[in-house]
Symmetry: C5
Subunit: 380 residues, 5 copies
């Protein structure tokens, strides 16, 4: 009955999307398009110190005229749902088949690859879900060349690049004076910084769980702790390789990354390390919480056992004594021998006394929360 | 009685096959053939940009004419059950005795070894068992030379090379334009990609176990979690050295591996890392599940204890009170003193009331699943 | 009822301060000032072998005249609550925008960065809270140049630099003969040494918890162990990167650090390693304590179970025997058959005997502490 | 009573032999001879491509004539029980005092040391005990020089070199064509391969324990799991440094090891890695089993609790109702009121019914194995 | 009552001595003398191949005449309780202020530091406490120069150098032919070898605990396991950095260490590794024991539960049946209906039977050890 409603909530992030791989033995560079995904929309931003163009374009070919100019061109493709457009994109930007495969066949592990005139950066962007504690996660591929930057986002919604777009538009800071490498850095930095709001949510949630575990642990608490551990595992899987990729970019350098941008990347790397650090700290706290939860459950059982032991151990011997005497004391031998048996209201008073004891105990148990059915897990 | 049917299911993968080693002190290069194994069948594929031959051959010597030609020759031996053929294979391909030992005496740990004019790659291929969650695992040895590739599979069934054969046959992609090194890469890549469908099965199984642990943990659940952990341990043992071997091949290079193929190997390495990553994630989830299982069991005991405590603690004092008075209230002193004792149907009504209480409690326990014998483990 | 007062105490150190990050995508170098924070006060110490000036100055510009002199100038800014002053500070000392961001946007991970003519050291200073076991933690940034040292403290209270100021004032040791690099070392060393009093507090607290866990474990103990583990995690997060930073400074050197100071830094590094060592030891002890706590709780339950089992198992069969005979022995057949039933004081004596047994058992349980409500957590 | 027979079985391998160290401060090179140990017997094998001599010799000096010859001389000393012979051995072979100390004062950690004209290899040889699951472990020291190989075994029994002796005798493989270095390799390889039969025993034992833990966990199971973990720890301690030693020998080389033998050593190293791998896998399985055991015990308690709860909770309220009515229903008011009380066989039938219920319950508990005294640990 | 005597025994080794650090910000090189400590006594040994002097001297200055001679001078200072003498020692041996600080302000982490003409080695010496299982631990600082060796021991009692002194005195081995570097090695080796007797004690103690945990686990056992883990943690903290220091000395060398002594140091390093190895093994065993202890406790509870369940479940239904019938069988209807009620000795026999049952059960529980109060921890 109660069991019918016990289902894992929909909010559980899938471990891996279905069919995220192609059949073993297929051609390298084969791209797999999920036709249910959103079709790609393409945005173009072209700017230099003086000019600024921002528009949506229809086909990949439309951006060709901008690519050769000295200005910085940022082509932002959002959505992976159309094979034809993606293939043409590959031709326009002259992408190696393996690059196109990495970009399209999500999820790929974050990494950096240097193809001499192009630099491929696979990154993972997270955006907090404000209501439930959780996050959207999508892959962003950056292909950096001398004068342009191509970014491919897995989904059109939820990006954290708006701040960068505004900085370009309003010419805040030095972004309009710098090249495509600085733009790539700015986007990377925005993605790394995007982990902080998500982590803040988890920090709050862990503090809530700490309170819950100490004060009133239920089975729901257990599930929540497991859920948090699982999601932190996913965050770790996203940030760890990203940090390594930035680190190897700083160490090995690339002709496409200027000296000045490298200093900024170092700052970006520091932030990635800080994210890692927080994720690890949260994971240790969450697994510490599991220990505390187990102890709390044992403590609760201890309490229950104590009540049972005290009540049983006192009344069982007494009942034995009462049982021996029956209690057939001879009421005729003495007025002190069970005069209650001869009272007019003896039986009703006795029943009433029993009812009072019974309800007092029920109240005591109800107040401790032992009467509610803790095994039913509430769902959102 | 019930205990008789409790047996470990046959589906349990053996930790190690029996007699997988030869006696200490025997000659290095000694090969041990399990005569119950399938006798080897040999397939030959010979191709260049224009020609394509695919046939089954009877004896190793039959492939000699193809080996010296400029075309790429792929000799695929399936099955290890005939010592004579394996010895002759060693002679035809001029294999070092230690190479032949590694190839024949399965299981060997995945590794790469460079014998100047030959490159030995020991790999492990996994193929999912579709029905039960599990996988077939067999060793594949690749011996790469300038113009040929010799592959030796442990068993004739279950390979994941069909996609590659089709690509050669239909001349898809660049495979017909490339040498034997590209072919070796294509097979390696197919084997690494072959881990993904297996991992997907485990991903699903872990999600099922999560649901089971949260909602209705039984002893079968415990066994399943242990089974998953054990099989993931085996997967990890298979992929870890494979990744290291590919990594050292990329790092150290070899005269037999062309520059272009090395770029493809980097992609293959990325996939191996991703497999490792998923295996580790799944292992962490599985061991987290064990914690949750333990808590769930404690929670269940808590619930049981609460019912026992509530019922006992209420009725034991009441029984004591009832015991004191006997309940021998004098029915003659007052009409309120136990009039039931003098009713015509008093005793049957009382018995019926007891039966109602008894069955109500039985129903309550049955509904919570406490009456079924949880200790009998169901087998597939 | 009791549950209303169960709240996490205020003493819990926050995992991370709120709003410690700026929105993803904002300009690098953007500084975020918490206007509730204390406004900065600036202290200037200028000294050489013969002269010594110590005063509070109003504006950053006031320290310009001292900066170019050959004497060592120490500008100590305490508090981060005024954006304008911080910006002007950046101009006076010619700080790179990223440096200013690191200094102002606390908390930053401890690190060292070399900007040719300036060396940035982000460190974390801890000061023990004497009453409760805990510590204040704040970020201190050191910017070292040839002739001056700029330090920026997050908060005006609690610093551990007074010893150094006194050494300068009284010209103790070699500090007045050395340059700004020695001053920087002296402050770093004071900060590292500042971890020891904090660790001593934790050492004492762990010993108290050991005693508590062995002798009388309560739910409060559990919470205390968790709290200690959590705070040691924070200490570890503070000291680990600090140690790495000092290590890389010794290894890579810097033009701003003299040869002699480097020997002193090695000593400072030894102390950092010792701090790390103690933190790790304490963490292992704390997690060992958690195991012991769990066992103690199980042991306690064992004890309770034993009492219940002994009492129930003895009296339940006896009650059964008493129940069979009713105990309606015929008092008329023999003077030995329940003569008590005919005594004058039979019933009162029997009731009194029961009361004695009941209170004796209650005393026994009270003495073991089973009657007090262990689930209410006392708060400070 | 039962407790008297509970003793740790003799089969437990000692952690360390008593008195395995000499007093701190004694002269380096001091050798400690356990006079209860077997006195050494010395075997000499001398061979080249054409000749073969095998004989037992009395004194170390007897082998001097063979040492300078071009042929390969293998002097095999078995047993360490005579100080004089060991000292003379040191003189005959011109051993450094520290080498003699390492050879005689067992156990020494496996290692390799290069003394220019001699190469010392300390190894550990394991031989399975066929009946009980366990192994004999002894130290074997190899001292390799240009034309001879000196091996010193801790005990005369149990060696796994017989296969090598036969290969030399019958001139199987290339051993007679190779030098002393190949012989050293052959012995090393035999020792490494000697781990596999031991590991196979543990593999089987773990599978038995898996079955036992799932189906019928007892305290004996717990002890067995601990025992397996402990012995695997010893195996790991034996193989880990051995692997490192072989690895450093391959990496650094030695003038005494020919190029060809180095290829064979690589094969030997692969086997050592495989042994490590299996040991680690088994250890992880064993510690997973401990978790499963704990859960099984909890599950069992759950089952017991359920029976107690169901029986108590049903009958306690019923007994209360029965207690209220006494059951003094007036048999005279109605023929339905407890007619059994007036039956002729009423009391015997009632007693018989109780006996039936009691024995049925006893049978039920006996069938579940709850009546046997699980706390007595059976010994082999 | 019982609780009053539950105190942590004095034998518990303190985690860290009080006041082991000086206030943050104090002058580097400040030495802190515990005036309660033993005042230093100074011993001088001066020897070369022919001469040998051994005497106690009063003031540090007394050893000046020996320092410049070609002979080897060993100045051994025991005790740290007099600031003046320590300061003068620093002047006589021309110690760097940081060296003096390291030597005096114990405990310092073991380490090696090279000051060109002096080599500082901070080591930790352990000496077993024979009666209780435990060890004395003190810091020994070695300052090696060309012709002398200065050693400073924290306490005058318990050193393990007597063997070395005897070797010098009696000219055993090569020690009189070697320089101060060999003497330093001999002392280091004696200190490392000094760990073995301590470890042997722990090995025995772990074997005792294994027996105890399997057969009769009590709360005292738990405390003992924790105690062993804690002390092994301290041993590990002592030996780990010592091993690293020796390793770096071998690797980097020093002008003060001759080539021949370096070979001996390699032997010393092997022993340090062996100590590490044993400590780690013991720690793993101890934490495995904790798991086994937890299981044993659960097993014990299982046993208790089984007895309770069997007894309760059998007698509660029977009592219910007895309760129904009252047992008011009409003794007049049949001679079989409760004839006992009319027996002359009916009641005394019944009481006696109850007493027999009660005492039989008490004996059964006493025999299992359930009646003794396990919660009182016995102290030494």
């Amino acid at each position: 009955m109660a069991r019918k409603i016990r289902r894992i909530p929909k909010a559980v992030t899938k471990l891996y999307p279905k069919d995220f791989y192609h059949q073993p033995g297929t051609l390298p560079g084969t791209i797999v398009v999920d036709e249910n995904a959103e079709p790609p929309t393409i945005f173009l931003i072209d700017y230099n110190q003086t000019n600024f163009i921002r528009k949506q374009i229809e086909t990949p070919e439309n951006c060709v005229p901008y690519l050769d100019k000295e200005s910085v061109t940022w082509v932002d493709v959002q959505g992976l749902g159309n094979q034809d457009i993606l293939q043409r994109l590959g031709q326009v930007f002259d992408l190696h088949p393996l690059v196109l495969e990495d970009v399209v066949n999500v999820p790929e592990r974050p990494k950096i690859e240097d193809y001499e005139d192009q630099l491929l950066f696979i990154a993972r962007m997270v955006v907090p879900k404000e209501k439930t504690c959780g996050f959207y996660s999508e892959q962003v591929s950056l292909i950096l060349s001398k004068h342009y930057l191509l970014t491919v986002q897995e989904e059109p919604e939820h990006d954290c690049f708006e701040g960068v777009r505004i900085r370009i538009d309003r010419s805040k800071g030095i972004i309009r004076k710098q090249g495509a490498d600085y733009l790539a850095y700015a986007l990377l930095d925005a993605m790394i910084d995007g982990f902080f709001p998500v982590l803040e949510l988890y920090g709050e949630r862990i503090e809530e769980l700490e309170e819950e575990v100490m004060v009133n642990p239920t089975r729901q608490t257990l599930q929540n702790i497991y859920q948090v551990r699982r999601e932190l595992l996913q965050l770790r899987r996203a940030i760890w390789p990203q940090r390594d990729a930035i680190s190897s970019l700083i160490r090995d350098g690339s002709e496409l990354i200027g000296e000045e941008v490298r200093i900024y990347l170092r700052d970006c790397y520091d932030h990635a390390v800080q994210v890692m650090d927080m994720v690890e700290t949260y994971r240790e706290l969450a697994s510490g919480l599991m220990d505390v939860y187990l102890s709390s459950v044992s403590n609760k059982m201890n309490e229950i056992m104590k009540v049972l032991t005290v009540v049983s151990s006192i009344f069982i011997p007494l009942t034995f004594v009462a049982g021996i005497y029956g209690m057939n004391f001879n009421t005729e031998k003495s007025p002190y021998n069970m005069p209650e048996l001869n009272w007019y209201w003896g039986y009703p008073i006795c029943l009433a006394g029993m009812a009072v004891i019974g309800f007092a105990l029920l109240f005591f148990f109800w107040q401790r929360g032992w009467l509610k059915n803790s095994s039913t897990i509430k769902r959102d």
